[in-house]
């Protein structure tokens, strides 16, 4: 199962990269969203999957899923959310101000 999940995360990562390499700003932002999904799936998998109950203590449970990666993911999800929100607003402002959402037109030059 872990192998499948790692491959899945890798595929998501690849798609993320593909989108990041596009010109359209929206595509790139979508790429970053995919990227964080891939990253979180990687983290979860690294803590092993399906090895016990959800990490909430209860009578009778012998094994629990590794709680540490879950805690790390939670932190990371919240941070990613913050970054993505800022990125979205920034993208909106950048496109409005510069009049294009094509990053190749936003190269600029060394003189400004």
């Amino acid at each position: 199962m872990e192998i499948i999940m790692i491959v899945l995360a890798g595929i998501l990562f690849g798609f993320a990269v593909y989108n990041i390499l596009q010109k359209r700003l929206l595509r790139i932002v979508i790429g970053t969203a995919l990227l964080s999904h891939a990253a979180h799936l990687f983290i979860l998998t690294m803590g092993k999957l399906k090895r016990g109950a959800a990490p909430v203590l209860r009578e009778g449970a012998e094994n629990y899923s590794d709680p540490l990666p879950q805690a790390l993911i939670l932190t990371s999800i919240v941070i990613s959310f913050g970054v993505t929100s800022l990125l979205l607003v920034l993208a909106y402002r950048a496109v409005k101000t510069n009049g294009t959402d094509n990053m190749e037109e936003l190269r600029g030059n060394n003189h400004d």
């Binding site: 990227l35 891939a38 990253a39 983290i43 690294m46 803590g47 790390l72 920034l90 402002r93």
Partner: protein, 494 residues
Amino acid sequence: MTNLAILPILIPFLSGVLVAFTHNRLGLTRTLAMLLAIVHLITMGFLSFHVLTEGSIVLEAGDWIAPYGIVLVLDPLSALLVLTTSIILVAAVWYAPSSVSEEQESFYFYAFVFLLITGVSGAFITGDLFNLFVFFEVLLMASYALITHGGKKVQLRESIKYVLINLFSSMLFVTTVSYVYAVLGTVNMAQLAERAAASDSPGIITTVAILLFFVFATKGAAFPLYYWLPRSYIVPNPVISALFGALLTKVGVYSLIRTFTLIFHQQPEIIDNLFIWVGNLTMLFGVLGALASRNIKLIVAYNIIPAIGFMLVGIGMFNIDGLSGSIYYLLQDMIIKAALFLLAGTIASLAGTADINKMGGMIRSHPMLGWMFFIGGLVLAGVPPFSGFIGKLLLVRGAFEKGETVTVIIMLITSLLILLSIVRAFIRVFWGEGNTGAEPAGKHGSQIFSAGFLMLFTVFLGIGAEAILPSVQQIADYLLEPQTYIELVLKGDH
């Protein structure tokens, strides 16, 4: 006493919150910001002195023993870095009112600055790999807010690139942390070091380390990962450029020094050569950009990169001279880069343009500005008796000791080209016909003073090197012996 280790992050954090609440009373905000920055500087001075004389301070946050909780480790290296950071903070807050528009200032400018410092200081003192990621995010988020602050067209254009590049490396960072966790079963740096040293399969450790190397090298702007840096660093206000130029890339370098001396030095033949060659190329390509530029701010921005190359090769030498050279270079470069960004900002503001070919004869009206810029060039090129020389001498010695003659030659040529880039700018801006910026300094007076404040430190770090250098050499010695750090944090009781 151990609680003192929280101060480097607590003071700027609370300061940030405090100035955020006063944002609509500008006079109060400014005074408060300056006051708090000075308090921070004094406290960090005291703390560093304490650490250098009495020894490192380890704080287990929330009293959870290492490696299970998060530890903050204020060792001599971290202490000197947070101290240097606090010096730059004072200069930045001093410079800001005359450069940042009042409207911008009241839009949480100082809050962002303090939070940026929080993130930077946190990254310097944390002893936990995932927590390092969190502090990276704090400083990055503050930098995102600052780089877009003001919302000019070019700013928005360049900052979106900046955010996207950093976002990729952040995600790679967090993924790599999970890889490290899978292999070594922990995220506490001391325990990582202990376990990495005890393991007998170095291959996988080196592999994940390489990923981490690239994460930090992207933040630290090493070749060929630096392309994003120069243009994005010059678009915001000079104060922000100075903070970025002085602090952000250096956090990347610090992280490399910390993790690769402590944890990931299992296969020196790979790791050392990686550092040396990436460093060599970083020096050459970075200075290439500096030579190619006609924009005074860009020239300074590009000069960040060869300096990073110097520090990287020093880490790759992995001997006392190389490492102490890197650390000394790191400390002094933070200060001189901040000073140069501030000076370049003032020059561009006085001239009304950043193009050096459109200026001339500025020395007539602004001799102080000119001579400080000139000395800045000498510092960068490593001309004695200034601080750059001390670092360069150690690096050259370290490289020769390791037999890396090519690196020495590249270092020396790079230094010469750095000198050319700065002196050429100096000649075009300050000498020759014309009389750029003839009006009296006015509000630029305080800008020149705040840059001068930083210049004093570079001069001190050169002439008075003996005050710091023995500590730096001890740090290098201590970095070469990770056991000290491991015992400091884990105390052998886990």
